[in-house]
């Protein structure tokens, strides 16, 4: 009986609201997905140039891996990939170690620098990388670090470690001290308690710092462009810039296959861990 009291006016309003909501969701989702869909479809088609991309080719009729053959075996993709992976994994290694150790210090130990460090990190975000890139280039050329993996790894590790340390500190602040204190009573040294107890508990934040620093190195063009001059040191981003902008005769499906091979692994990691990643991103205030 009570149900019949529902005013038909409200029912209509509700239907209108739902109709608008679904329309918006579908339009915005299509807008969001389209470029990714487009580049995957293009990579699987026999399209020789951008000129022959038509709207019809958005719904593929023939699927071919020709473009992947082209990018993997007719361009130095694997060399660029190797270089990018060396740089990215070096950056991850340094950033994670420095971030964890300093995060520990900042969260657990009596250090009079905490506030200074946090302010420094915030202020660092105001500075565009163009400020530091010229001095770094000059410094690194006197140290013979230009055109080496080390130079770029060090350059990438800076910002990532500092920011990572801040994230680790916030994360550890939420873990009660009882855990490591109990372990210390059981006879572990303080450092032992940190590595045996807190390190395993920090897995999620360490994974996040790894992803951030991996992405930073893996998708950097601006620093690599300045620090690398020899062709066999080229990274994926430099190779991609060359194929997409400098060398306009590149087959478009080959460029698409490049994008897919370079981007999809990251994309899959992000989508699989989206719940966790969006949570940490919203805590840390980064994009």
């Amino acid at each position: 009986m009570i149900r019949q009291k529902v005013n038909p006016k409200y029912l209509i309003l509700k239907l209108i609201r739902l109709a608008i909501s679904y329309a918006l969701l579908i339009i915005v989702a299509a807008f969001a997905v389209f470029p990714i869909y487009y580049i995957i479809i293009t990579s699987l088609s026999p399209i020789p140039t951008l000129a022959s991309v038509s709207l019809k080719s958005l719904i593929p009729t023939t699927v071919t891996l020709e473009a992947y053959n082209g990018i993997l075996f007719h361009e130095p993709f694997l060399l660029w990939l190797r270089n990018s992976l060396i740089l990215a994994s070096g950056t991850v290694a340094i950033s994670v170690i420095v971030a964890f150790v300093s995060g520990l210090g900042l969260s657990r130990l009596n250090i009079s620098m905490k506030k200074v460090l946090i302010i420094t990190i915030y202020v660092m975000t105001f500075f565009p990388f163009t400020v530091t890139v010229i001095p770094l280039y000059l410094m690194f050329s006197t140290l013979h670090l230009v055109n080496t993996y080390y130079g770029l790894i060090i350059a990438y590790s800076g910002g990532n470690s500092v920011f990572g340390a801040y994230l680790v500190k916030i994360f550890l602040d939420n873990i009660p001290r009882d855990y490591e204190e109990a372990a210390m009573i059981d006879g572990l040294s303080r450092f032992g308690a940190f590595t045996r107890i807190l390190l395993p508990m920090s897995k999620p934040i360490i994974a996040f710092v790894s992803l951030l620093s991996f992405m930073g190195a893996y998708t950097d063009y601006a620093l690599a462009n300045v620090f690398i001059s020899s062709g066999n040191m080229w990274t994926l981003t430099l190779g991609m810039y060359y194929l997409a902008i400098t060398n306009r005769s590149t087959l478009y499906n080959v460029f698409a296959a490049f994008s897919v091979l370079m981007g999809i692994p990251i994309f899959i990691i992000f989508i699989v861990f989206q719940k966790y990643l969006t949570k940490v991103y919203s805590l840390s205030g980064t994009k």
């Binding site: 969701l25 969001a32 163009t130 400020v131 010229i134 810039y241 205030g285």
Partner: protein, 291 residues
């Protein structure tokens, strides 16, 4: 006890070293360069020239033009991307929407794919002769547009691309702060017979004020210094009509080897950004609430 304390500092030694070596020293060095005539013409023998570079930059038309562009770029992309992000968070937060998880995941696509690659994909999509954007507008019988060669359309293309890149971030953040508003507040309002708009204006907006300001200020700083969209899509062109401070500084340094001018541009840009950020933080009281 003292020794114990000293060992504490070993933990932060690496980070302090990195900050000094990779941030403090380079920043000081850059400021120093901005007071010299260090460029390709004076590469090995450069000297201090006082404020000459600053006078040169601050009195030039190029600087004012590029500063205006930077403001347009920052506000022009931040407002629509935050608005779209917020709108989609509100839509997704309704109780009676089905398939939320799926729609949300689809909307995360632009954020999940590396931005550097997406930008080069968009560059192909905006292409005049072959780009898929012109093919789509051709469906409604619009003539193809040479997007990136006219200032007005270049701005539209840049901002649309940037909105695509960043709105998912705002949707995700706003959705999580919408979900943290206690549902009792809405239930109480419903008992009092509040309408949808009243609930939004009296509960949702005030509860999200801090989160919106904090995200907005961080987004402002990020967008002001966002290098790749403009560098890759237009390179600041046509002419300098879409150039922003950070891209211009990079080009001055590495395309024209004018390190002194580039350093002055970077320093001025940082000072302006820092002043604005401090004013915004003061007005919104964000830091007091967050810390």
């Amino acid at each position: 006890m003292n020794e114990h304390k000293l060992s504490n500092y070993f933990y932060i030694l690496p980070i302090v070293a990195l900050i000094l070596f990779l941030f403090m020293y380079p920043v000081a060095y850059a400021i120093y360069i901005s007071f010299t005539n260090f460029s390709l013409y004076h590469f090995f023998k450069y000297s201090l020239v006082g404020f000459q570079n600053y006078v040169l930059v601050l009195t030039s038309h190029t600087f004012l033009h590029i500063l205006g562009n930077t403001a347009l770029w920052t506000v022009g992309s931040l407002v629509p991307m935050m608005a779209l992000g917020y709108l989609m968070a509100l839509v997704l937060n309704q109780k009676d929407i089905r398939g939320k998880r799926l729609f949300f995941t689809l909307m995360l696509f632009p954020w999940a794919f590396p931005a550097y690659i997406s930008l080069l994909v968009w560059l192909g999509m905006w292409n005049y002769e072959y780009g898929v954007v012109n093919k789509i507008i051709g469906l409604i019988h619009l003539a193809p547009i040479n997007w990136l060669t006219y200032p007005d359309t270049a701005w539209i293309a840049l901002i649309l691309t940037n909105v695509w890149l960043s709105f998912p971030y705002y949707t995700a953040i706003f959705l999580s702060s919408l979900q943290s508003i206690p549902t009792e507040l809405y239930e109480a309002a419903e008992v009092d017979g509040a309408s949808m708009w009243q609930k939004f204006g009296r509960i949702t907006l005030p509860m999200m004020k801090t989160s919106i300001s904090f995200v907005g200020i961080s987004g402002f700083i990020f967008t002001w210094n966002n290098f790749y969209p403009i560098y890759l899509l237009t390179g600041g062109g046509p002419g300098e009509s879409t150039n922003i401070l950070i891209v211009y500084a990079y080009q001055e340094a590495f395309a024209y080897n004018l390190y002194d001018i580039a350093a002055a541009y970077s320093t001025i840009s940082t000072i302006i950004l820092a002043i604005m950020a401090i004013i915004m933080l003061k007005i919104t009281h964000v830091l007091e609430v967050v810390s």
